[in-house]
């Protein structure tokens, strides 16, 4: 059934933002991007069972390395909701609805970080020092992992072509590891991910340090495709918003280093929108 559904979605709706809904009424599928540390199968299974008990149908998570892959699945109707970054949300906000916005330290905001290897005599003190150096990004559709870097490099007067090299690592976690291994001399990373990795004692974080912190941006939201919603989508929204009300939900949120979910407003992402408008080729018009 699922395979047939995917096949139909691939054939009929891959290239179309207004794809025919391909959801099955007995299951909700949520796409995950590297905006969170979502590679723990046991945790996702527990979270899925928790949401399913609240929603009344099976809930499963679909993780992909790139934001674009998740967007493709969402727009092709192969998933019902997606946890994406604020930048693709503002870029495709005409086609997306907010499902919920996570609360990090009680606020629907996070920061982007510029990190460098934690070594004696590190030369990178800020964006302006990146000329002739190697910079690691997360994803072309990441706010903190690409868009912020583009805006700050421009602001610092360092054209991207004057970097020795810039490359994508397909995830904020990999940005930290690339900088820790000194594959890159600096990395543009999601501050929430970096802090979460630090709280979990991941080795790569001990070898990196934060050089710069951005202004607050709207936290990467959970979104749905505009149009007919899955019949249980409202139940899912309520389950997410009420996770902080019970013990199991709070434990799951603690694992995510979050404090809860809020319905959110588009205005939360205005700062991202403004920034994207300043970056040529961001896809966000003025």
């Amino acid at each position: 059934m699922q395979r047939r559904h995917w096949l139909a979605a691939s054939v009929c709706g891959l290239a179309s933002a207004a794809a025919v809904p391909g959801w099955a009424a007995d299951r909700l599928r949520i796409g995950l991007t590297p905006v969170i540390l979502a590679d723990q199968v046991a945790f996702l299974s527990r979270w899925g069972r928790y949401l399913a008990s609240r929603v009344g149908i099976e809930v499963e998570f679909v993780a992909r390395e790139s934001y674009q892959s998740i967007l493709d699945l969402l727009f092709s109707g192969q998933i019902d909701a997606a946890w994406i970054c604020g930048y693709p949300f503002v870029r495709f906000e005409n086609e997306l609805n907010l499902l919920a916005v996570p609360l990090y330290q009680g606020q629907p905001f996070y920061q982007a970080y510029l990190i460098r290897p934690k070594v004696a005599g590190a030369e990178v003190q800020g964006w302006a020092d990146l000329k002739g150096r190697v910079l690691a990004y997360s994803d072309p559709l990441s706010n903190s992992g690409w868009l912020v870097a583009q805006a700050q490099l421009a602001k610092a007067g360092v054209p991207v072509r004057e970097l020795k090299r810039g490359f994508f690592t397909h995830g904020h976690r990999n940005v930290a590891e690339a900088v820790a291994a000194r594959l890159a001399q600096a990395g543009s990373i999601d501050g929430y991910v970096w802090e979460t990795m630090r709280s979990q004692g991941m080795p790569a974080i001990a070898k990196t340090e934060v050089v710069w912190r951005s202004e607050p941006f709207g936290f990467p939201p959970l979104v749905t495709r505009k149009g007919p919603e899955h019949p249980h989508m409202e139940s899912l929204r309520l389950a997410l918003l009420r996770m902080s009300d019970d013990k199991v939900g709070r434990e799951l949120l603690a694992s995510l280093n979050l404090s809860g979910f809020t319905p959110g407003q588009q205005v939360l992402f205005d700062s991202i929108r403004r920034q994207a408008q300043q970056v040529p080729g961001s896809g966000v018009g003025g």
């Binding site: 490359f167 690339a178 291994a181 000194r182 594959l183």
Partner: protein, 481 residues
């Protein structure tokens, strides 16, 4: 040191040392072989790793994906020996020869030009000139490999740079030592009790043999022979046979010694008997002559008295001589008197008459004589008879008794063949050993020795034989009667 220890310690210790030595040798040989094989195996492994990397990296290079190339290299380099100790590293170079990504970005930082540059004092060919694999052996034994990465249509997409430090080819001493140590511990754990048991088993017959040898001379050989352990070991069996043979030899030797002792006792008895007979026989001829004189001229008072005195003194001499052989007899001997020499001359006169030989004697006594008469008379009698015998028929014998405060000398000469010092010594030795017939000179020497005097050939006399008997003029030492 080791040889002082008992077998039950020596053997396990020896076995353990042998195991240790074998382990060290095996480890050394293994290390050498491993060192030879390690380089070849590592290079072969590098070949396979490079093939794998080239196959995997092509689409990543086409996508310009530095992170995934880094991930690939980071995982692949773990296949290369020494990578965990940071002794091996892989890098993908861009078509212009700069580092695209490396497994160890600290040593091979991203974007660093490599081809056409110097690498650890060695010049690397430029990217353009690297059309096939380049193998670079560094002075310290490290190896650098550069393999071009080609697209299907032959375009150079980049290069695989592989470097393995010399230490990666070295034997894994720690691992070898650990293996050897485990082997040694296991072997020693097994061999020590086994060796102790074998040593004890081996030493048991040796101990029993030693015990038997210690009892030789104390216990009955028959019992000891039965106690010699029977063993199948050829060496121990030889020792046992040798011990049995030794006991047989000792038994035979003991029997021979007993026989020799018995014969020696018999010889001593014979010798003593001969000496006594000689000493008694010497005055007997004179005494028989005296009895003949008494029978013919006993009517004359003076002759009768003188002859009876002569007989009395002669018999007293014999009595004293015989008494000397009896430990329980204690006969007081009188001191020598000047007339004793005349007595002795009278006793031997019969012998001299038979040889028609002349006897001259002279007595010069300036002091009282204190020496005992019996040994001195015995000496004078012996020497006179020997001198008459040496002088032969018609010969002349001169006897001179001289005494002063300190010494008593008896000097006797004869006109017979001159006795040399050498022959004199040989005669004394012969008489003291195997020639019981000539006891005269030997007895004189023994008496001179006992009286703390001397008996020797007067070397100043060259024309005649002159024997000198000289003793201190004092009473005889205790024990001589």
């Amino acid at each position: 040191m080791l040889r002082r220890l008992p077998y039950r310690v020596q053997i396990p210790l020896g076995l353990s040392l042998a195991v240790l030595l074998a382990a060290v040798l095996v480890t050394a040989i293994t290390a050498r072989v491993q060192a030879q094989n390690a380089r070849r195996d590592t290079l072969a492994l590098l070949d396979r790793a490079v093939v794998l990397v080239i196959a995997q990296v092509r689409p990543l290079l086409a996508a310009d994906d530095t992170w995934r190339v880094f991930s690939l290299l980071r995982d692949t380099v773990q296949l290369v020996p020494g990578a965990d100790a940071n002794l091996a590293r892989l890098a993908i170079l861009s078509p212009d020869g700069a580092v695209f990504a490396a497994s160890d970005p600290v040593q091979l930082e991203t974007g660093r030009p490599v081809l056409g540059q110097r690498w650890r004092e060695k010049a690397l060919a430029s990217a353009v000139n690297t059309e096939r694999r380049a193998l670079l052996g560094l002075d310290d034994g490290s190896v650098v490999l550069i393999d071009p990465i080609r697209s299907e249509d032959g375009q150079t997409l980049g290069f695989v740079f592989t470097e393995v430090d010399a230490a990666a080819f070295a034997p894994d001493w720690a691992s070898l030592a650990r293996t050897a140590l485990i082997g040694i511990v296991l072997a020693v754990t097994l061999l020590v009790p086994l060796g102790w048991w074998v040593g004890k088993r081996m030493a048991r017959p040796v101990g029993r043999l030693a015990e038997v040898i210690e009892r030789i001379g104390r216990d009955d050989p028959g019992v000891l022979r039965a106690d010699v352990p029977k063993t199948s070991d050829p060496e121990l069996s030889r020792i046992g046979d040798a011990v049995a043979q030794l006991m047989g030899e000792l038994e035979r030797r003991k029997a021979a010694e007993e026989r020799a002792l018995s014969a020696e006792r018999l010889a001593a008895v014979g010798k003593m008997t001969g000496a006594v007979a000689h000493e008694i026989n010497n005055p007997l001829a004179g005494l028989l002559t005296a009895t003949q004189t008494l029978r013919l001229h006993g009517g004359t008072e003076a002759i009768r008295v003188r002859t009876i005195d002569l007989l009395d003194r002669g018999l007293q001499q014999i009595r004293t001589t015989v008494a000397a052989l009896l430990p329980q007899a204690r006969i007081e001997d009188r001191p020598l008197e000047p007339g004793d020499l005349e007595d002795i001359v009278t006793l031997v006169q019969g012998v001299a008459d038979k040889q028609r030989a002349d006897i001259h004697f002279q007595v010069e006594v300036e002091s009282a004589l204190r020496v005992p008469s019996a040994p001195l008379r015995q000496v004078m009698l012996n020497l006179l008879l020997n001198a008459l015998k040496a002088a032969g028929d018609h010969g002349t014998v001169s006897a001179h008794l001289q005494a002063d405060e300190t010494q008593v000398r008896f000097c006797i000469r004869n006109t017979g063949p001159v006795l040399t010092e050498d022959r004199f010594r040989r005669t004394l030795t012969a008489e003291g050993g195997k020639d019981p017939r000539g006891f005269g000179l030997w007895v004189c020497q023994e008496l001179a020795s006992h009286l703390r005097g001397r008996f020797e050939l007067d070397a100043t006399e060259s024309a005649q034989t002159c024997l000198l008997f000289e003793v201190p003029n004092r009473e005889a030492p205790e024990g001589l009667t």
